[in-house]
Symmetry: C4
Subunit: 377 residues, 4 copies
């Protein structure tokens, strides 16, 4: 067990560490970055880079998902977002960008709330997924635990290959006095496609979610520049600690099952490329990126960013923010692989990961999870 | 006993934690927020939400107290404030708001000092309390320990149902060479209404105040955006630790008395809805809110905020601040229960509490006091 | 011994605490502030408030020293400052204030350097001291250890009653290959007036200075808004820890000598009235104030502030800063005793101390040194 | 071993301390600053001050290296920088400064990238080195580990006296599947000049580098106002801890070899003169300065600053920043030895070191490495 702090008489709390408090310390022979692999495989799907997209319409459209797939990552469509509700999404997004021009951010939130009040139309989701599969790219879509049962059949019919069940907090079993809650274990057992589920925030919920049969578990809820879950709910978990704990659950579950490896996917606190390296260094198998992708020319938000919880009808927990200025927009390939003329780690995100691994002497992601760490004050 | 730090040779200090250093960590099954109760009961009085108001005229008028009561909380009138001294309070407050327009905040403090130099008129307090009781709402009023003896008979006669004896620091016994000080135990024993008293800042003073027969004990002194007690007096107590310690006193006093449960009411460090959840999570039974209520249309301060100590004649310890801009003002119902289009936790304060409890799997406030906590660096 | 931190392999450092990390925690019965005494006595001299002035011309002129004395404190003239070098100080200070109008702060430093290049004229110091003694007020003057031997005879002849030997760091013995250094013990033994010496920064140097026969030892070097000694020299000592350590030396020296009580005077980190209370709470007998006095109408700097090291000819270690705006200037009596309409602890400095003592239940300064402390993150 | 922190279940990290967290605590007799020596000797080369320059063209030209040498330090030319690629460097730098005028810092980075795309011309390096040696000053040049083998013969032929092999991270052996990597031990064994190599960031890599036969080991990678390695790669090591660890390696290697003393040179976190004193206090034998020298009239960057990694073709890790305004530029002699009218520790850098040593009672650098340290919160 890790460091406990007595915050008052008889009450202890665990000290959690954020990614920005942690640093990677080189202590081995250096290595050429050409000799480094950033490949990642989950279930039968192999990716050149350990990248999933946070399921926000600000970053992922069907076209963006295709491009991300071609570049070696996994784009995750939000099956409850704008593409699922509006046939004319382009116009809808233009409206959002126009509202931005007034600098009235509450109005932006309100507009997103209204746009998400439109009903989900299965044929729109199906169309979106087909665009991805027809391009020869792995198709993934996200549903909330509340609507997973209702929406999944349509997604499967449309050809989704990886299902992402994602909310701020997802537990193995949701308790409800009326109505039938989602039992993830039963739900997953009935599916033929691999499921990635989360977020979880500690060892225990990670372990419970692993036991549901999920292929991957998401740690965190996309905390970063836009998310306000901590202010609104008081709930939070610094990511370095949350990732390490989930990795401990992965190890223990591997032992418990005699070999089932559940992937740990980190979704939060990535502000620059160095945080991707830190996430893997803490034990993540892959990262889920949101805001850093908003600078891609292919991102539908045109520089704007918000997380999925920005559109909650009564309690939004994400700001809608301008994440990249017009002259900072670059194409996705450059964003992921460079070359960069930006010294702040916003471009060449995965070239930077490769170089961090090389400079510390590691040749693959799994090995790199063991690199030495230092904590800053 | 909790962590002690040696600040120098032979001198130890306790490490205290503020609410912003603490986070709630979900580790159980999630729950539907419809299945959550935020009800709170003290003595014979039951409330839908664990809300008392900080006794400042910036937030509570008789009309506001009525509205707060109807919405399920408890408005506490300041029996030594403007309503107790001026018949034409509306005009008086207009004057305050006009002074604000000059952006001269020292002038605002000076004006409040002058307005509080007028004598307290019992008939005005009586009138105010009657407005509340006649609306069928529980009437509560605050007196300072210095004037409790003098003002209480009038308050009781006017029909006050809960008496709040509140100062920056209230001890069970006030020592004075001349004049007769307040002995809270004797004072409370003579009353027929429940008394809430404070603030206290540690286990020992909390315990002493519980032994006076108080129904509730206030922890803190309304520290937050306006309060400057720390700068002025050097006195302070980070709220997470102070609440945990007072909750420990509650537990020990419960044992000592074989069953008397004294409520712990937290008054400080609530900047957004998440801090309400954190206060309960640390062990509070209810919270006393000030500045977050300044955004209510019903708040007399029209967006301005100050604590009761802003008007001290020689040593004010609260700024008078603009706490909410004109376009941020919403009606009290929306402020407390939403819906919100604000992602920063300033609106839907108690919907957020309900949701925090649901997401961590707790169904009532008492249970929620046991939720897991994490500490941030 | 206090907490040691291993900053690297085989190297430990002591964790030091600044005043702003420390808070006073009330845990006793409260007391009426009329029943509190802030009196302080050193040698045969008794003061109503535990106040000495930092020996900077920005704050102390002969006239200001008289006023401070009448109000119960001790003004310390800088025997190596402008009053000691220029007959027309008023004009000289007007020049400083005019230079300020250009907002060129380097030019201000350069001007002070030039003004301090003029020779020290004993007759000017004598005149200044006589103005103080003739007003019936205790006269104190500061010399640097380098010039103590040379200047002291003139000071004594002029009637100085308390001698302050003060530099950034003063040790009991100064080592020098050529020239004769000051041996403080011999120096003090030869004098008939009490000597206050410092600054010291830890237990050991405090103890050594106590053994020289000094009546008081200064802890710190006036760190605060203006001082830059930490940036320039890398030398520093957080005040809470430094005061506690010096108080420990006082206790041990009292035991060692069977009763000689050497006063601990804290000179640094006082930004507002609460820091005075914290200094005493950590164990100081009195505080030396600089910047907070710059807001006095009687301060020669007219709102400007600098410490004595601002005028060093080759390595200045204090900025010259505007410490109080024109409309913040009040007379000294109000600054020290109120009434105040400023909520930030800049006015009514010693009324605030009195109130802090009352609210925590202490009736004199010596007792108040035992009040409970809390440390913040 | 030093303090370990458990950042999560089963994963520890070392707590590292930055220079700004550390302070020097005087605890001995003070000393006259005339009696202090700041002399430093490595191999057969003796220097009046423990100063090397960070090998960036922003700070070092051949002419600047001559001046630095005459003033007692060691200028290190970058053998892969602009002087090695362009005959008309003056014009090239004018172009950089003009681009600055547009305030487009990405354009500045891009320009540096383009300028560094020109081929290295050995005759230009030779010319530069000869300018230094002909002035009777010790000539030092820096090569990257990647190009050390290729460029060193020309450097030796040109008369280089100290070779610096420097990259962000340099290990004793670089691993590569194709091509032949640099084996530093063999490389150094074949050379007749002393080699200084680095950066290293912990005890282990420092020890390995010492075993290659290097005369000096560089700790750090020039972290400071311009460097962004932490954001881009996630790699970092707070300097106080890194220096202490390297000094521990120096001590152990001294024991292991029965007397070979390898110098520890600190390159990072020096923002003001006090940080030089802190670096030595932590155990460094000398410091490598970059940004603080940008204010020298002799610095080619004319107030601009960037580190060597600013020009990386695909992943720059340093901003190009205006480090000194036009009116802050002073000649190198004043920058190093004063007099200063700047209170912020930007001028009289080594006069400040001398004074810090005197005030804490140390007479040479080696002794000063034992001065007491305090850690701040």
């Amino acid at each position: 067990m890790r460091d406990l702090v007595e915050i008052g008489m008889g009450r202890t709390a665990r000290r959690g560490y954020a990614l920005h408090e942690v640093e990677i310390v080189p202590s081995r022979r250096t290595r050429s970055s050409q000799d480094v692999s950033t490949a990642w495989q989950i279930d039968a799907y192999r990716f050149d880079i350990p990248l999933l997209t946070h399921p926000t319409d600000a970053v992922v459209s069907p076209a963006a998902a295709v491009e991300i797939g071609k570049l070696g990552g996994l784009g995750v469509l939000n099956a409850e977002g704008l593409w699922a509700r509006h046939a004319n999404v382009e116009q809808v997004l233009d409206q959002v960008v126009e509202t931005l021009d007034d600098q009235d951010f509450t109005a932006l939130t309100r507009l997103l709330q209204e746009l998400h009040a439109a009903p989900i139309r299965p044929e729109l989701i199906a169309e979106a997924i087909k665009k991805v599969t027809e391009a020869g790219v792995t198709a993934a879509a996200r549903v909330s635990p509340q609507r997973a049962g209702e929406l999944t059949p349509d997604l499967l019919a449309a050809g989704v290959e990886i299902l992402v069940v994602q909310g701020t907090i997802v537990s193995a079993e949701h308790v409800s006095r009326n109505g039938e809650p989602l039992n993830l274990k039963n739900f997953i057992a009935d599916l033929d496609v691999p499921v990635i589920a989360g977020g979880v925030h500690d060892y225990r919920t990670a372990m419970h979610l692993m036991r549901t049969g999920a292929a991957g578990v998401i740690v965190g809820y996309g905390s970063g520049v836009a998310s306000t879950t901590d202010s609104v709910l008081g709930i939070g978990a610094p990511m370095a600690t949350a990732i390490v704990d989930a990795a401990a659950a992965r190890r223990d579950y591997l032992d418990e099952t005699g070999g089932r490896y559940v992937h740990v996917i980190a979704d939060g606190e990535v502000d620059a490329s160095g945080d991707i390296a830190k996430s893997i260094a803490c034990g993540a198998d892959a990262v889920m990126l949101g805001a850093p992708l908003a600078a891609a020319k292919e991102a539908p938000g045109k520089g704007l960013y918000w997380t999925a919880s920005a559109a909650h009808p009564s309690l939004p927990r994400s700001r809608v923010i301008p994440a990249a200025a017009e002259d900072e927009i670059v194409d996705l390939r450059t964003l992921l692989f460079g070359p960069s003329a930006d010294p702040d780690g916003m471009i060449n995100l995965f070239g930077a990961l490769r170089r961090a691994m090389a400079k510390t002497g590691y040749s693959d992601l799994k090995e790199f999870q063991k690199v030495g760490l230092s904590v800053r004050g």
